[in-house]
């Protein structure tokens, strides 16, 4: 009973979130519009400049590793964090029994 009640609440919340997101699409530029703000404000410069400035024909690589290289540093830090987290949680220390002091 409670379970279903909880699911109902989730369903309502999810529906509302989805409705809000779809409501937001109303004012969006059409899909694939080459003149949409996203395609015309910052990114053209990458396409036009990237080869001269970074000597890389692959613009995605140029942006990833140069213009926004700092994001990429963060990205590697994220992976590093995750690996250390997993290590931290799962490594067993000798001389300490698993589940010691726990139920």
């Amino acid at each position: 009973m409670i379970k279903n009640w909880f699911k109902l609440i989730s369903l309502i919340a999810v529906t509302m979130t989805g409705a809000l997101l779809i409501y937001g699409t109303h004012d969006m530029p059409a899909w694939g519009d080459p003149n949409s703000p996203a395609n015309s404000h910052v990114s053209p410069r990458y396409i036009l400049e990237a080869t001269q400035k970074t000597a890389t024909p692959n613009i995605v690589s140029a942006v990833l590793a140069d213009y926004r290289s700092y994001d990429t540093l963060g990205e590697s830090a994220v992976i590093f964090t995750a690996s250390i987290s997993c290590l931290f949680l799962l490594r067993r220390i000798r001389g300490r029994k698993e589940g010691e002091g726990k139920i």
Binding site: T17, L21, I47, I59, V63, V78
Partner: protein
């Protein structure tokens, strides 16, 4: 009307996907299912982002044709190449999603070791017993 739907439908599909994932995260009682929901949610956001960068027409992947030093066969036209930025962002987001999944799986291992189950209701029941045992003591 049809034009409107054609202009928006793919955003809607991603939103629906997102909501499937979100519902799994909130409504499911099995922890692995929650995690799968999380992956669906994140993946659909990635798809959503990537679709922002699409340009209708002849646009192609943002790898320049030419010698790599700006002296291409023809002048670079912005409309010829897809918007590279969303792709870049999503490369990072994919990594983030994988990392989160990894840590979540690690906690799931801990949870399973401790409770021998991944059903939230059963875990709650076990914890309730444990705490009432503690207070009796």
């Amino acid at each position: 009307m049809l034009e409107y739907i054609l202009a928006k439908y793919n955003f809607w599909i991603y939103v629906i996907l997102m909501m499937i994932g979100l519902y799994a995260m909130m409504g499911k009682r099995n922890l692995v299912k929650k995690l799968i929901g999380m992956n669906i949610f994140q993946t659909s956001i990635i798809l959503f982002f990537v679709s922002i960068g699409v340009k209708a027409g002849d646009a192609t992947v943002p790898i320049l044709k030419g010698d790599g030093h700006g002296h291409g066969e023809h002048l670079i036209q912005v409309a010829d190449y897809l918007n590279p930025l969303p792709h870049v962002l999503m490369l990072t987001a994919i990594v983030v999603s994988i990392a989160t999944t990894g840590v979540a799986l690690a906690t799931l291992i801990l949870i399973y070791k401790r409770y021998n189950t991944l059903e939230e209701d059963e875990i709650m029941a076990i914890r309730k017993d444990a705490s009432s045992y503690k207070t009796q003591r």
